[in-house]
């Protein structure tokens, strides 16, 4: 999949929901490229900042956009990866704090 196409299609859908791509386009494109890598590798777009198990059902909470995006953007203005952010985060009206991992550790499959 072409990154620019993915960017444009996701942007349209997600901005309507109030989630914006990080204005640092290099970083955003790098993350989208890694989402495509994971799609090729696992068959689903697992979060590139987390270790996927390869089991789609087990990892459904971290298929991008992950289940943790909503509370993370609400609390920190950004998702765990800094891919999806709020308008305020992009406008630097709120600090760009480190977003801690919200996924429970028991979800890491050994």
């Amino acid at each position: 999949m072409d990154i620019e196409t993915l960017y444009q299609s996701l942007r349209k859908v997600q901005e309507a929901k109030g989630y914006y791509f990080n204005k640092d386009k290099d970083r955003t494109f790098e993350l989208l490229e890694n989402l495509i890598t994971n799609k090729d590798r696992y068959g689903y777009m697992a979060c590139p900042c987390r270790l996927a198990s390869g089991d789609r059902e087990w990892d459904k909470d971290i298929i991008c956009p992950c289940d943790y995006r909503e509370p993370d953007v609400e609390e920190y203005g950004s998702c765990y990866c800094n891919l999806y952010v709020s308008q305020e985060w992009n406008d630097e009206k709120i600090p760009h704090d480190y977003v801690p991992e919200r996924r429970p550790p028991e979800k890491i499959r050994f």
Partner: protein, 119 residues
């Protein structure tokens, strides 16, 4: 706390062009402008932007470090490494960076530089 790994780790460092690598004594080297005595090791993911940011920071600081991209491992290799990661970081999140005795989770530039003695 000891660092144990069943796998050979990647070792990377960047030398500033024109700078000299000076061996002061075993275990201590001065590369470019930075001198660090502590070993620097990192558990990372090849796809993770925070992990890439840490690698870039360490490269820019000409710090020698070892890293393991856990997502590129499979089966028992991955399991063994994850057991190691869990000892340092029970959340098993990435990057997990070990600088000497200090464990830093995530791309925390200030903390990393402090641990390296750069700030």
């Amino acid at each position: 706390m000891s660092f144990k790994s069943v796998l050979p780790l990647h070792v990377a460092y960047v030398k500033i062009p024109g700078s000299e690598s000076v061996k002061l004594q075993p275990g201590i080297e001065k590369r470019g402008c930075v001198m660090t005595q502590d070993s620097v090791k990192m558990y990372s993911l090849s796809t993770c932007s925070h992990c890439k940011s840490v690698k870039k920071l360490l490269d820019e600081c000409t710090v020698k470090y070892e890293f393991t991209d856990v997502d590129l491992l499979k089966g028992k290799e991955r399991q063994a490494i994850l057991e190691d990661v869990k000892k340092f970081n029970p959340n098993c999140s990435f990057p997990t960076i070990i600088i000497g005795e200090k464990v830093i989770v995530g791309y925390k530039e200030t903390e990393i530089k402090e641990a390296l003695g750069l700030s």
